[in-house]
Amino acid sequence: MDQAYIIQFAVSAAAIVLLAAVAAWARIPRKVEPLTEPTARALIAEELPDVRIERVWVDADGAAAVAKAGGEGVVLFRVGDGFAVRTVPWDEVCRARALKGRALFRFGDPAAPACAFKLAGERLPFGEAA
């Protein structure tokens, strides 16, 4: 391998570690408050403006929310200091398994394979709306 490339790789690797460390140390992410029902509704409306939301459940730590929109479930979840949204059939939302206090939703999407929803109690709260 060309020596110049070895130097370039080594310098780049060192620079990456330095910059990532400084970026983490600076603590300048966007401010994100835990989700509430109104903020979850607003975020979902922004992402999916044509969807009519019937009901929203926010998880125990305010990092995810599930909304019922007809036969569809809309799952909103936190990613870093932002959010991602995916839709799944409502039946699948109701069939999600509770494990160690969390419900896991699988989307079958390589860009966002799954999301965990922290439960306040032992049972899934969504079944009653089915």
Binding site: F9, A26, D81, G82, A84
Partner: protein, 305 residues
């Protein structure tokens, strides 16, 4: 290998590092409009590193093809002529515009380029969030046209580097608008914020490299509006920071689609991102059309009231 008089990218690495540190300092100490999320920045920087590895792996092949095409050149364009550098500046930038535009409009190339757009942040680390598969899908091949015309491969490599270095500083929210004459001619942070935005209004716009005039000329220019701040990322944002998913998620999705319906492989590969045989998914065009319809109906309702 192609011998270059100087390598703009390698020369600029210390500048990249210094400017990222300066931008972070501006956000931390001077309350500039700058946001960094640790894992997001780490992911962007790792993507940049992976891109240099990709370049290293592909360099031999690309050099060989460039030198082979140069054997069949139409003209002999001298590398030391000033007019040749002026010409290559404009031609390189024009080719960048179209290659970049196709990288957004056709899924096989979007699968690679989406990496650069997948951050929900817009800062200088985003500039370094580069694809790992761009060279494999041939995003460099349009430049062979210039080599066939007679521009020495070294000129193309240098001008490509100059363009990439120019495009680094425009990935920031810390700079508002530049002077009007500069905004009219050059790609700027404001124009490039629009390019990275996922708001329906801003989708598929401002593909320029250095000169924004190409977008104005080909009808893809959209001005940043004070009443609609840019929201960054992709239409369906990523669900995490796993580096392999960041790099390959769209490829995985393409293979998944083709596996389910092989007879639609050409559509899934060469259709616009979001294309599906039954039209059930959304492309940029359908998202924009629905947004326009909502705007029109809101305007009519306001008029009626």
């Amino acid at each position: 290998m192609i011998e270059v008089p100087f390598d703009p990218i390698r020369t600029a690495i210390p500048l990249f590092v210094a400017l990222v540190l300066l931008e972070i300092a501006a956000g931390r100490f001077w309350k500039a409009r700058v946001a960094y999320e640790g894992r997001d920045a780490w992911t962007s920087l790792l993507m940049g590193f992976g891109n240099t590895v990709q370049t290293f792996i592909m360099l031999g092949l690309i050099s060989a093809v460039m030198l082979w095409v140069y054997e069949y050149r139409v003209f002999d364009i001298p590398i030391d002529a000033w007019w040749a550098w002026v010409a290559v500046f404009f031609l390189d930038d024009l080719i960048f515009y179209w290659t970049h535009r196709i990288s957004h409009e056709r899924r096989i190339w979007w699968a690679s380029h989406v990496n650069h757009h997948s951050s929900q942040h817009f800062n200088l680390s985003t500039a370094l969030r580069q694809p790992w598969t761009g060279l494999i899908v041939g995003t460099w091949t349009p430049w062979l046209l210039l080599i066939w015309l007679g521009f020495p491969p070294a000129m193309i490599v240098v001008q490509n580097g100059v363009s990439l270095v120019y495009q680094f500083w425009i990935h920031t929210e810390a700079i508002g608008k530049t002077p009007r004459w500069f905004e009219a001619v050059f790609n700027t942070p404001s124009h490039h914020r629009v390019h990275h935005a996922r708001n329906p209004r801003y989708l598929d716009a401002n593909y320029a490299g250095i000169l924004i005039v190409w977008d104005r000329l080909f009808g893809t220019f959209i001005e940043e509006r004070a009443d609609e701040p840019c929201k960054y990322g992709i239409v369906k944002n990523l669900g995490g920071f796993n580096i392999l998913r960041v790099a390959f998620h769209e490829w995985m999705a393409i293979f998944q689609d083709i596996g389910r319906s092989p007879r639609h492989a050409m559509g899934y590969l060469f259709g616009p991102p979001g294309w599906s045989p039954d039209g059930s998914r959304e492309t940029s065009a359908t998202i924009k059309a629905k947004w326009r319809a909502r705007m029109d109906s809101a305007a009519e309702e306001a008029k009626a009231a």
